[in-house]
């Protein structure tokens, strides 16, 4: 059929703005998943911090009142064991809640591992299609497919380390006698020392590259 000739030129911008398919689709979806997983991690971390704070308060107030009890009334009155039992139950409850939070963070990490595997798959496919140097024209603006994989690995590593730290904190928090060490555990949980500030920037760069954020 005849139509006006040559007034629609296929530019690289057009190609990117059209329906993203195949590898590019996968990478773009992965980027959105990274964003959502990081958000989920932050929410769980915040929730965990509140619970951890409760644990520390219970632990420290419990040990304080124990000492007071011994000083004031050397012969233990009948109410003491039940009060102690109540506090222990509450402490155990909070520890369970923290364990729940941590279990959910483990799930987040597993999803991150899947993203890295998926990224690896995209890279392998590209190497198969185009040879070891990969495709000549980048899928989005400028990043090579390898760069997406590298970034995913870095992010996974960061969160894996942070998770290990949080798991240690979970194990130790309720048994720690020293209030200073309790405070250090809380600091570690809150400030997440293994997640460097550039993590946020890396995520933003990923979202910019894949078109989730306007340039």
């Amino acid at each position: 059929m005849e139509g006006p000739s040559g007034d629609i030129t296929v530019t690289s911008t057009n190609r990117k703005c059209s329906a993203v398919t195949g590898s590019a689709r996968k990478i773009k979806d992965n980027a959105a998943d990274w964003h959502n997983l990081l958000l989920r991690w932050e929410r769980l971390s915040d929730k965990g911090f509140t619970i951890a704070g409760n644990i520390v308060n219970l632990r420290l107030s419990g040990s304080q009142s124990d000492q007071q009890q011994q000083v004031v009334e050397p012969q233990s009155p009948p109410s003491a064991p039940s009060r102690l039992a109540g506090e222990t139950a509450e402490l155990q409850d909070e520890c369970c809640k923290l364990k729940d939070v941590l279990d959910k963070m483990v799930v987040v990490l597993m999803k991150m591992e899947r993203l890295v595997a998926s990224q690896r798959g995209v890279l392998d496919l590209e190497e198969f299609q185009f040879g070891p140097e990969g495709r000549k024209v980048p899928l989005f603006h400028s990043w090579t497919t390898k760069q997406f994989e590298d970034l995913s690995c870095v992010l996974l590593d960061v969160f894996r380390q942070e998770l290990q730290l949080k798991q240690t904190i979970l194990q130790e928090l309720a048994h720690t006698v020293s209030s200073d060490l309790c405070m250090v555990y809380l600091s570690c949980w809150l400030h997440q020392p293994f997640i460097p500030p550039k993590t946020r920037m890396m995520l933003e760069a990923l979202l910019l590259e894949t078109g989730h954020r306007p340039l």
């Binding site: 240690t168 060490l181 405070m183 600091s187």
Partner: protein, 202 residues
């Protein structure tokens, strides 16, 4: 003959009190915004103190590489952020100090230019709705002095702060709070009450 000079002085006084009313609101708002920042500073100081009291190599955290260094970095970052915000608040307080000082010096300049026409009787004369010019000038000067001294004390306190100086960091929230002078604050509020009729008249 003293009438025009007195009228222009009174106009200037009205303008000054209007400005004082606005500045008082700004000052109080900024100070209340400093309270949560001081709480954060206290929390951070506690965290620094706890970290310095603990030997991480003797704890279950020993297996984490560079943990202490990384945590210190994060604490430093958090402390810097709070100090930065406090500096912004100090700048806002400075604006209030500057505005008040400028207003009051302008009024006093006007008074001094017209001392020939403004004799003792005129400036000490008061009515049911208007305090004497002398009183009003004095109140303005008191308010200006209060903001000037408060600003200097608070600024000096914050300028001495260093994230590395733990004991200074720990004592800052208490020292900040001790600078509150409710009596002086109340005097400014009283002043504004006393001139309220004067402000409305023309």
């Amino acid at each position: 003959m003293s009438k025009p000079a007195l009228l222009s002085l009174q106009q200037a006084l009205r303008k000054s009190f209007q400005s004082l009313e606005n500045n008082q609101k700004v000052w109080n708002r900024v100070l209340s915004e400093c309270s949560p920042l001081m709480v954060s500073l206290g929390n951070l100081a506690e965290q620094w103190r706890a970290l310095s009291n603990v030997q991480l190599s003797n704890t279950p955290l020993r297996d984490f590489p560079d943990l202490e260094e990384r945590l210190r970095f994060k604490l430093l970052q958090a402390t810097d952020t709070v100090l930065g915000k406090l500096n912004d608040k100090i700048s806002a307080l400075q604006s209030v100090r500057d505005a008040t000082s400028n207003q009051v010096s302008a009024v006093f300049q006007l008074y001094e230019q017209n001392t020939d026409s403004l004799d003792l009787l005129t400036v000490t004369e008061r009515s049911a709705t208007a305090p004497s010019a002398a009183d009003m000038l004095e109140w303005l000067q008191d308010a200006e002095r209060y903001y000037r001294q408060q600003f200097l004390r608070r600024k000096t306190l914050l300028q001495m702060l260093r994230a590395e100086d733990l004991s200074l960091l720990e004592s800052t929230p208490m020292r900040w709070k001790s600078m509150e002078t409710p009596s002086a604050e109340d005097r400014i509020t009283d002043t504004l009450c006393k001139v309220s009729f004067f402000m409305e008249s023309q």
